[in-house]
Point group: C2
Chain length 316, copies 2
């Protein structure tokens, strides 16, 4: 066990990959390694890239990574695809294009598309972030599809979140549900050479300014135009990321953010572990099946069974 933690800390990509696989499989061996790695986390800066499928997030992530590398920073990329099988799959497909990046030892790429029974993709992603952090990556980019609840949970792991919008995809401010504006620290208008880009830019800028005025937020999200495939505007985006980082650090907001995340994460861990133990206990001696027989026959309600089991197990 000690070896895996040590190897990750020394920068072995193979050890990191193995550990991540354990995390995905909920293999218990991961727990001890993660516990040993934990004191070495908290150094990496975490950037989230989100937006509709087709917004060009993968290309933007690639270009941003090249720009970070030019600044001498190492990068971990986590591409997460929790989306519907109807719209999804794009992230993983796009990863193929990243071969140029994947030969760079300063870049570590991981795709995540599965999701366990409970605990979920957000939890697993949070663990992978910690691995890459302990592994020594300076910046970790989390790329997700869309902004559903899963994605929102995942994107909360980021220190700076870039929301990528594209003209002509129906990505109007009006179409966004409440709360989506709030997750963006930086707005990116990608494919800014397309028709409708100026209008989208104006619309987002106006809305951001109104919002900043209304809420008196200390940080007004900049709106950055990019044409990722042609590497246009990517340096400006990176500058905006660095600006936001400085703002968070100087204002103490970064510390607050990370504290909230530690709180959430601790609760989630307790939540997940509780389930594992309950399931194991109830199934070990066939008790669950006996209870389900009673419930299915309507002799007892699941609500009553719940109270009984908890009364039996929970210390007062």
């Amino acid at each position: 066990m000690q070896d895996y933690a040590q190897q990750v800390l020394e920068g072995s990509p193979r050890a990191a990959a193995r550990l991540i696989s354990w995390l995905e499989d909920e293999d218990e061996r991961a727990l001890d390694v993660m516990e040993r790695l934990y004191p070495h986390t908290g150094r990496a800066y975490i950037v989230g890239i989100t937006g509709s499928p087709g917004a060009g997030k993968s290309t933007l992530t690639d270009k941003l990574t090249f720009a970070l590398r030019r600044q001498g920073l190492t990068v971990g990329i986590i591409a997460v695809d929790p989306s519907s099988p109807f719209t999804g799959g794009a992230v993983l497909g796009d990863r193929v294009r990243m071969s140029r990046l994947s030969t760079d030892p300063g870049v570590f790429i991981r795709s995540m598309a599965t999701r366990g029974f409970l605990g979920g993709l957000a939890k697993a992603t949070g663990e992978v972030v910690k691995v890459l952090d302990a592994f020594g990556k300076d910046v970790i980019v989390i790329e997700t599809v869309g902004v559903g609840q899963d994605e929102v949970d995942i994107i909360r792991l980021a220190d700076t979140t870039c929301l990528v919008l594209v003209p002509g995809l129906g990505d109007t401010i009006q179409s966004m549900k409440a709360g989506v504006m709030e997750i963006a620290d930086i707005f990116v208008i990608n494919k800014a050479d397309r028709p409708g880009a100026d209008q989208l830019y104006a619309e987002v800028t106006t809305r951001v300014e109104q919002d900043a005025h209304l809420k008196e937020r200390a940080w007004t999200p900049p709106v950055v135009r990019t044409v990722a495939v042609e590497d246009q505007g990517v340096d400006r985006l990176l500058e905006a990321v660095h600006d936001h980082r400085r703002f968070l650090e100087d204002s103490g907001a970064l510390e607050d953010k990370r504290r909230r995340r530690a709180r959430e994460e601790t609760l989630q861990m307790i939540h997940g572990e509780l389930f594992r133990r309950i399931r194991d206990r109830l199934t070990a001696d066939g008790e669950l099946e006996a209870l389900v027989d009673e419930i299915a026959a309507k002799r007892r309600s699941p609500y009553r069974v719940m109270r009984e089991v908890i009364g039996r197990w929970l210390k007062e």
Copy 2:
């Protein structure tokens, strides 16, 4: 308390609506009412309608509901939208069109789009199904957007699941992730008057037959063509639903399905409630904040805290 349960059983829509709001808010008052209602559940038949946004699921649900009503059956509709703010919102918008249905006392409509911190939309939907069941609805239709993990969890609540595909939406069999074919008890090719419908029909039919051959499933999902807006094919779809129901009842599969669901549900309830109690205890006296301070300062790891907390509260 007794009154609410009684009122729901007597068919008061107002009592049902109130109870559902309590469930959504995780109001503790719901628990006693649900316990009293439980023996009166298990009578309704549950139909799931899922597919891409834009596949016409709402219209199909409406027409199916009218068809069920013509057969003298009462209907509960639960429209669930856990999807991205970029693609979603359609379900709720479409509900406006249902005014003709909503004046019919034999139909009860509920939209669900929010999601709690933990426990999730699937659990809440399962509870609402039980309310409408006890409320006396003969058939409950659950309509969800897409087939992400949330949707899969929700659609597992259904006895018969209809997967709605549409030509020209990229809904090809090839684009489906593993496991999506398996959730469909009935395939619906909606907007079957559009170009590409015949090809999609042929493709799905071929795949279903191959699949049935390979897996020797006792039920081969029929492929039904509909043009929901013009009410075409809806009676055939309803027939297919009744066929599947008879198959499940005659083969004993319905009982198995519902037993599995009771098992899952019981585990989820115990887990959810146990977590709630431990979280309440941790937050009541500020202990959680003290622990998070330690974790944020890297003096302790969340993994160790998790083990300590669980060890302290859970009896051996």
